[in-house]
């Protein structure tokens, strides 16, 4: 079928079907609870993981189909607004949903092995799916109210998931810390929203933008914008709301670390992109509310701090947590390099594309950690010594992730960083690109330590790896192949991202 024929079908059905990806994720979560209710004593792990994976893959397929068919995009009449403009389905929301669903699929497939000897498996899968639903709604939120609600929908299951290993002190502590900081930042976000509402009299992003030009109460508006920015900084684990991230990523079950650091972070960026670009357009905001400067500071501080903290870690999972903060800094360039009237779609799209590549390589890296935890190998760099001689295929995949995260050329991460920095230079922010490039070069130091440990060092202790867990291997290899294929296949990704990003302005 041609894209036109596909688009025709979507026109003839009700508009709410454009929300199918989010609905499918939510229904899958409910179905998982249903399975648990029907077979309360012994819900088969395979059935649960199968349902969860099928749901997220189906949602992924539908999202991809919508994206190709042009649902909510310029080719079929533009964004689809629903429920009094509270939600909007457009190219950007679909692009981000693509990231969430593919990460969710990888995570639940990997969790099949990870949860082998745990109870409460149905809860695990359904909470994951509910969090993914929240993220999918976040990407479509077009009103500050739905922004807040969807953000909570994504966050609440995440708190529980981080603390899933109930008997593990680290997991519980991480969950508590995550929850407390999350509660504080939710309060900050809600307060910021109320201030913006007080100034503009509306919660819908478009109406906020229309009312924002009036100079009275610009100070209150500025405070509101700053507080909203703080709320998003929490969700994306950006400085100064990043303190929860190392503990939460380290303490959580590794598949959940993968989920939070890839999908949840991307969700934070999805809503930050939409809110700041659409509700507070640079052309309209009063002079004192120039939020781009705030994002520039955040971007530089976040990537630098994340990188330097990562370089000092001895624990691989914690190193990845800090590297994830560093990558939030790169993605922030998408907002930091905007100018009034500039070619903003390019840099924002580049940031989105980077988040997609990041979704593969970072999820893969955390799932490799899950694999190693499954084998009972330790968590420090030394514990990884000689892993390549016992598990060469997985070690190759991890090597791909590490080099790709560092931005070495033969992998997808290089291309996405290159396009991101290049777009920043084109927008006139060559110093942002320079800081990013220097940070990226420094990051090779700590990423290559993992590679060196796995391949070159000799093992300190004898360890036996008996199992080859199917689910974890599938997910890790899928992520690895994705990271590799995103090098030659980056063209359609970046073109889609930049096209859909351009329509936001």
């Amino acid at each position: 079928m041609t894209p036109d024929a596909l688009a025709l079908q979507t026109e003839t059905v009700a508009a709410w079907t454009a929300l199918a990806p989010a609905i499918l994720l939510g229904l899958t979560g409910l179905a998982l609870l249903g399975v648990d209710t029907l077979w309360p004593d012994d819900p088969s792990n395979a059935v649960l993981a199968g349902v969860a994976a099928a749901g997220s893959i189906l949602s992924f397929a539908v999202t991809g189909w919508f994206l190709v068919a042009g649902t909510g995009q310029a080719s079929t009449g533009g964004a689809i607004a629903l429920y009094g403009d509270a939600l909007v389905v457009d190219g950007m929301s679909l692009f981000f949903t693509l990231i969430f669903t593919v990460v969710t699929a990888m995570v639940v497939v990997a969790a099949y092995d990870y949860l082998d000897d745990h109870s409460h498996r149905a809860e695990f899968y359904s909470l994951t799916l509910f969090a993914a639903t929240g993220m999918a709604v976040m990407a479509t939120a077009n009103s500050l109210a739905t922004v807040f609600i969807s953000l909570e929908l994504a966050s609440l299951p995440s708190y529980a998931l981080v603390a899933f290993l109930k008997t593990d002190r680290g997991s519980v502590e991480a969950g508590l810390k995550y929850f407390l900081i999350g509660a504080v930042s939710s309060a900050v976000l809600a307060f910021g929203i109320s201030l913006v509402y007080a100034v503009t009299g509306s919660l819908v992003l478009g109406d906020v933008a229309a009312a924002i030009g009036t100079p009275e109460m610009a100070g209150v508006l500025g405070l509101g914008v700053l507080m909203i920015l703080g709320g998003f900084a929490f969700k994306t684990a950006s400085v100064p709301f990043h303190f929860w991230a190392p503990e939460a990523y380290e303490g959580a079950p590794a598949p959940i670390s993968a989920f939070l650091s890839s999908a949840s972070k991307a969700a934070g960026f999805a809503v930050a992109f939409r809110v700041f670009v659409q509700a507070f357009p640079l052309e309209a905001v009063p002079a004192g509310v120039d939020w781009v400067i705030a994002f520039q500071v955040l971007a530089v501080v976040t990537m630098t701090l994340g990188n330097f903290a990562a370089a000092t870690q001895e624990n691989v999972k914690r190193m990845l947590a800090y590297s994830s903060i560093g990558h939030a800094g790169y993605a922030l360039i998408g907002l930091a390099a905007l100018t009034a009237g500039g070619p903003n779609g390019d840099v924002l799209g580049a940031s989105m594309a980077h988040l997609l590549v990041y979704g593969f390589m970072n999820t893969g890296a955390f799932l490799f950690i899950a694999l190693v935890e499954h084998w009972g190998v330790g968590r420090t760099f030394e514990d990884y010594n000689g892993l390549a001689s016992t598990a060469p295929i997985a070690a190759v995949a991890m090597t791909v992730f590490m080099f790709s995260l560092a931005g070495l050329p033969p992998f997808g991460g290089f291309l996405s960083k290159y396009v991101l920095f290049y777009s920043a230079i084109e927008a006139g922010f060559w110093w942002l690109a320079a800081v990013g490039a220097v940070n990226s070069a420094l990051s090779l130091f700590y990423y290559s330590r993992v590679v060196k440990a796995m391949w070159i060092e000799t093992p300190v202790a004898d360890f036996e790896i008996e199992s080859r867990p199917v689910g974890l291997y599938t997910a890790v290899l899928f992520a690895g192949v994705g990271t590799l294929l995103l090098l030659p296949g980056f063209g359609p990704v970046i073109e889609t991202a930049q096209t859909v990003a351009a329509t936001l302005f």
């Binding site: 777009s423 070069a441 070159i456 060092e457 090098l487 359609p492």
Partner: protein, 508 residues
Amino acid sequence: MIIEALIAVTFLAALVVFVAPNAAAAKLAAALSVLPVVGSLWMWAAYDASGNALLGGEIAFETDVVWLTAGGLDLHWFVGVDGISLPLVVLTTVLTTLAIVSAWTPISNRESQFYGLVLLMEANLLGVFTALDFFAWFVFWEAVLVPMYFLIGVWGGPNRRYAAIKFFVYTNIASLVMFIGFIALVFGLGDSVTSLRLPEIAQALRAGELGGFAGLDAATLKTVAFVAVFIGFAVKVPVAPLHTWLPDAHVEAPTPVSVLLAGVLLKMGTYALLRFNFTMMPDVATALVVPIAGIAVISVIYGAMLALAQEDLKRIVAYSSVSSMGYVILGLVAYTTYGVGGATFQMIAHGLISGLMFMAVGVIYNTTHTRMVGDMSGIADRMPVTAGIFVAGAFGYMGLPLMAGFAGEFFIFKGSFASTVHSAMPLFTAAAMFGIVIVAGYLLFAMQRTLFGPFSFDDDYDVTTAPFHDVAPLAVLLLLTIVLGVAPDLFFGMIQEAVNPILTGGGL
């Protein structure tokens, strides 16, 4: 499509070997690596183009498709060869196969990974020599480093971790400097280029379409970028004083890896210098002729003196590479058909001869387990064939007529003496020629002490004749060296056709 097929087959071979059982990997890798040899020889036989690929000449076996569009500049999948790159492609495939065979004896653990990485590196090397889009080229360029890092770090000598990291860090920083310099040029060209295709950029630069960027005017930008790109490649070549990673890498690397490192990887540096600095910015190169020729002469003399001071056979050969690469730089900066052409020919010749020397050292090491000159004497008594080939290779290095080394060095000297870019070029040439005397000195001295005289050896290893599969690659290399020495026109004709357009027009 032949180039894509060549690269894809090599990648697939790497993958197959990587997952093959260790016991079968060595023979399988050797068998599979013959495929790219056949492919590249077929390309050489079917080659029917002329001119320089970057300067509007015919491009053989060309493919050009848009890879992706981002921010106004298209990235292309653009590959093809001309008279400069085709000989290097042939060198890469032939030398890889020989290196694989020479690894049968020394490599005895994790074989499938070793041979898989060697083939992976070969695939990326083929990409480096065939890519004509900056971006695709850079991807391959960097991708070569990764397998090399593992090959030194896993299978190297006692100090391998240090050597591998040093190699990786040096070359990566160099790449970053080069990348920044080159991208600044592209930004300076502004709208006069629409893609990162090297021919487009080269022609725009030679047509003087460069504008200012980041507060620099066009002339300053061009000089700064030239220096940045030059430094980036000079590390790879390497020229003094950026050569310090090389001896460590060579001494620690297993011999077959040294063969590829000296034989092909160093040529990446000189090839890139020729393609980027000397083809795209001849005006800056000729303006900077004194420092460049000075660096070349210093590399020749200083590298040779360092070689003279070594006791480790492998270090001797390693430092002599620094010396030989100095000749190549001298030939490039001469800007005459024999200078640049000879430099290109010398890349091939040095690839064969340094590969031969490293392999010969490796074969001796396989039975004696030492490379120290003082530890052994009279090896020729027990390993006559190996010693004979070693001697022949050493004479090739010294520039014995009718061997490839002579042809390369003779062309370079002929070209640089006649060079008109600077009145002092004959002086530089004369100074560089003294390098040959030192080369003869250290090689003869080392051979006299190790190979000849009464047999004596302290350890209780049984020093016997090397196995056939150790000597066969040596013999093949010696044969190729002689063939190219007798008939340099097998390559030199196409090289000259590709080199001549560089020398005309565009600010010279």
